[in-house]
């Protein structure tokens, strides 16, 4: 159970990184990636996955 970032569409703005309550998102080689082991899809924390809610590009933070 995890989200992933479609890197070809990502603008590397970093909003998802600091909204993520689990510190699951980090910059690797200038691209943001989601660590599937840490991602909870925000279940039990928020109504919606925070990365997907803040991402400015449609369909870029999506279920893996």
């Amino acid at each position: 159970m995890s989200y992933k970032i479609v890197t070809s569409q990502c603008t590397v703005c970093g909003a998802c990184e600091f909204e993520c309550p689990n510190a699951a998102i980090s910059l690797k080689n200038d691209l943001y990636v989601i660590n599937a082991k840490k991602c909870t899809e925000c279940e039990g924390q928020f109504d919606v996955p925070q990365c997907a809610a803040v991402c400015p590009v449609p369909k870029t933070c999506i279920p893996a």
Binding site: Q9, T11, C13, G14, F18, D47, V48, A53, V54, P56
Partner: protein, 491 residues
């Protein structure tokens, strides 16, 4: 030396004497005294704005700003913005070529401060939102103000996260905050903002615009209470908020905004913005000016905005960002204040002379009776003088002159006519189109060929007033033109 056309940007490697020559264009008098502040303005406000090119039209002839793109994250979506678009040749807000970490920004600002003596202001304008991406904004300002204590700090924001950081903004001596406010009626906001991210969820429709509006008003009030100067940017979107901006102007003035800046919507399908893709047009220069003229008497208007990039460097009309990209910065840099200090001393002298020339030009208008008002385009490289070759201009500053006075009313961007020694006829047509409504072009130098083409289009172009102060030259031109007519009439 009086015949030389030296722009302020030309003396990066020069000493104080060359700076003086460049600024004076002939006179290097040091008895002119310090610059006068406008009579109506309190001393402490004048001290804050007199060297800020965005807050003072007069300062924009002398001082430069730079933006560092350390804040890429944003918490709202606007229909005029597409964050994916990124092009070095494109000049508009929200666009950058490279994002910087706070450490990289520190190196860049020090490098620029050592090479560009006009630098007076460091701004963070995204490319996302400086208040939402607050940790990076705060760290950057902290690092740089430790190295360059006299640099003015300013930031721009959409206002949504602003109220959370006003106290820190005040404690960090950030003197200037720009809020983009496009509406004070959420019903209109619905057409501008598809969504916002607030309190851990995405809001759309009327809810989004209501929240954004309330936060913008709260942020503005909090800044006003703390004596922080605010500039309100409004994007003029024909058919959406153009007439509504009168109401925006009234409300922000009431809440203490210092300056109101109406910017034309930039809309192009190639930018991939919602407005670009749906064919929403921007206003014409005439529509923009008509709205600005209607707003005279409300909150003080800014008319010299160039809608610069989130990584712009230099005087407002120029962008030297490409000279200071990351790969061109040294690993270790140390700030050397000498060039900026020399420059500031010289500007203090020159401004007194400029002010005196402006006053003299206004006073001499009394002698011109019953002349129509006219728009005059100026080619300038900065320093407040008519000092740029016609063919080198990428923009013209537009002044309106009437028997009541001379005032700056805006600028027109054009393509550079002269390219390495020859002029392009196709470009000249573009320049003539951009100068619609203008009666005369005053420049540092112009060849016979473009002069004749402009004359055929009904525009007088002349270098007779080269190196004069802008207002002085315009006044002389006006007197000459209208004086001749009077003589002809009386003959």
């Amino acid at each position: 030396m009086a015949g030389q056309l030296i722009g302020l940007q030309d003396f990066a490697d020069s000493g104080a004497e060359t700076m003086r020559e460049a600024l004076s264009g002939g006179c290097s008098s040091s008895q002119c005294g310090s610059s006068d502040k406008p009579d109506s303005m309190p001393e402490e406000i004048w001290a804050k704005i007199k060297d800020h090119p965005c807050y003072s039209e007069e300062a924009h002839h002398y001082f430069a700003r730079m933006h560092v793109a350390v804040a890429p994250a944003c918490n709202i979506q606007c229909n005029y913005c597409n964050r994916k678009y990124d092009c070095a040749n494109e000049s508009r807000p929200g666009v950058v070529s490279e994002k910087l970490t706070p450490d990289q920004a520190q190196r860049k600002v020090i490098t620029v401060a050592n090479e560009v003596p006009q630098l007076s202001v460091l701004g963070i304008a995204g490319p996302g939102d400086a208040c939402y991406d607050w940790k990076k904004t705060r760290e950057t300002f902290g690092l740089i103000s430790a190295d360059i204590p006299d640099i003015k700090l300013c930031l721009s924001t959409n206002g949504l996260a602003l109220p959370d950081h006003v106290d820190e903004i005040a404690s960090m001596n950030i003197d200037h905050v720009t809020i983009t406010i496009n509406m004070v009626d959420p019903e209109i906001g619905v057409q501008i903002y598809p969504w916002i991210f607030y309190k851990n969820r995405r809001w759309t429709g009327l809810d989004a615009s209501k929240i954004l509006h309330e936060r913008q008003m709260l942020g503005l009030e909090m800044l006003t209470e703390r004596g922080i100067l605010t500039k309100i940017n409004s994007v003029m979107i024909p058919g959406v908020n153009d007439t509504h901006l009168l109401e925006v102007n009234r409300v922000v003035k009431e809440k203490g905004a210092f300056l109101h800046n109406i910017m034309p919507l930039i809309s192009d399908p190639a930018h991939g913005t919602h407005y670009g893709l749906t064919g929403q047009r921007g206003p014409t220069p005439a529509e923009l000016k008509a709205l600005q003229d209607q707003l005279e008497g409300g909150a003080k208007l800014m008319r010299h905005c160039r809608q610069c990039r989130a990584d712009a460097v230099g005087l407002l009309g120029e962008d030297r960002g490409q000279e200071f990209t990351l790969d061109q910065l040294a690993e270790n840099v140390a700030y050397d204040p000498s060039r900026r200090v020399n420059y500031q001393t010289l500007v203090a002298e020159m401004r007194g002379e400029h002010e005196a020339a402006k006053r003299a030009a206004s006073e001499s208008l009394v002698d011109v009776q019953q002349a129509p008002s006219a728009l005059v385009a100026i080619a300038t490289k900065g320093g407040g003088r008519i000092n740029q070759h016609f063919g080198h201009a990428t923009e013209f500053q537009i002044y309106e002159i009437s028997t009541h006075g001379i005032k700056f009313v805006g600028h027109r961007k054009t393509e550079q006519y002269c390219k390495g020694g020859w002029g392009e006829d196709a470009t000249l047509d573009g320049v003539i189109a951009a100068l619609e409504g203008v009666s005369a072009v005053l420049c540092g130098k112009i060849g016979d060929c473009p002069k004749e083409s402009l004359a055929a289009a009904g525009i007088v172009a002349t270098d007779d007033y080269a190196l004069e102060w802008i207002e002085e030259g315009i006044g002389h031109w006006y007197e000459q033109v209208n004086g001749q007519q009077e003589q002809r009439q009386s003959a």
